[in-house]
Structure formats: C-alpha cells, structure tokens
C-alpha cells in the first residue's frame, strides 16, 4: 500500500513537471518562461524528496538544498536581466 502511494505520487508529480515544461515551451512572453523554470525547479525538489523515501536513503539531502538555491539564484538573475539589462546595480 505504501509503495503504491509512492509510485502514484511520482506519476502525478511527473505529469505536473510535463505541464510546467509545456508552459516553458509555449509561453507568450519571456516572463512566462522564467515562471515555468522557477516552478519546475521547485517541483523537482519535491520529486527528489519522494525518490528519497522510495529508496530509503538520505544522501540526496545536499542535492535538494543545492537545487533549491540554484533555482532561486537563476530566477532572480534572469528576471533582473530581462528587466533592465543589468544584473548588478551599481550606483
């Protein structure tokens, strides 16, 4: 029963990752694509969490932390680049 719940949740999370990917491919503006990338990075963290429970291991904890940090940094850098062309503000 527990295995069945884990596999079903992995399938549903995979479907939602595919939906975010469709938004990245389709998005009318650049900001839609950045939004899709941000949501995909966040959801991938949850996906790896379920895989951790499935494999009964804790070694992916570092990978989850680095993935969430990289997703945030990438989102902020891309949106600031789109906004004004300059990533770092220097007064």
């Amino acid at each position: 029963m527990f295995q069945w719940i884990l596999y079903t949740s992995l399938v549903i999370l995979g479907i939602s990752l595919v939906l975010f990917f469709i938004r990245i491919m389709k998005g009318p503006s650049v900001n839609d694509r950045i939004l899709g990338l941000d949501a995909l990075g966040i959801s991938l963290v949850g996906f790896i969490g379920v895989v951790m429970i499935l494999q009964k291991t804790l070694i992916y904890a570092d990978i989850i932390l680095v993935l969430s940090i990289l997703s945030f940094i990438g989102t902020v850098a891309m949106s600031k680049f789109v906004e004004g062309g300059s990533v770092f503000d220097r007064d």
Binding site: S43, G49, I53
Partner: protein, 114 residues
C-alpha cells in the same frame, strides 16, 4: 502500515495534490500575473508538505536538519522570486488579460517615469 507510514502518506498525498493543482493553474490561467499566483503559492506549500513527509519518514534514524533548512529556504525565497518576475513583467509592458477589471499600478508607474 505502521504509524509513521500513515503520517508520511498523508503528507505525501497533500503535497502531490497541491503541486498538481499549481501545474493546472500554470497551464490554464490567462496571463502572467495570475499564473504567478498558482506557481508561487500552491507549489511552495506542496513542496513544504513533501519535505515534512521526508522528515517524518526518517525520524527514527534521527532528526535531519538539512531538510528543515530546505523548508526554511523555500519559504523565505519563493515570495521574493514571485515579486521579481512580476515586477520585471510589469516594467517590460506585458499586457494584462482582457478580463481584468482594474490596474492600480498604472498611476504609480506614470508618476515614477514623469
């Protein structure tokens, strides 16, 4: 199923449903500002539930502080990234949907430019 597996299953089902709801919202909603609601709030809460499931499942082997750090980091940075995306969209002139009723920011940005 033991007690820990039951609690873990409840957290996993809640988190998966929230992430799936956020994906449906990102596909179905009309413009970038309303899509950010779905992607920024629902997805974050879903990931927090999934991380709580991980913490609960590995609780007999000892408390893991790295996963708690992930929860804190996601909770702290998701509103910031939503703000950055929406502000850059508004300043680039991405149009609102035709069904939106009012635009409160128009006066503010007119004052800032003029």
């Amino acid at each position: 199923m033991t007690g820990i597996e039951i609690v873990t299953s409840i957290f996993i089902v809640l988190g998966t449903l929230l992430v799936f709801l956020s994906a449906i919202g990102v596909i179905r909603l009309p413009d970038v500002y309303s899509r950010m609601h779905a992607a920024g709030k629902s997805s974050t809460l879903g990931v927090i539930f999934l991380m709580l499931a991980v913490i609960t499942y590995f609780l007999p082997e000892g408390f893991n502080a790295k996963i708690l750090l992930v929860i804190l980091f996601v909770f702290l940075t998701a509103p910031l990234s939503s703000l950055m995306i929406n502000r850059s969209a508004y300043r680039n002139g991405v149009p609102l949907d035709e069904s939106s009723v009012r635009d409160d920011l128009k006066e503010m940005y007119k004052c800032e430019k003029g």
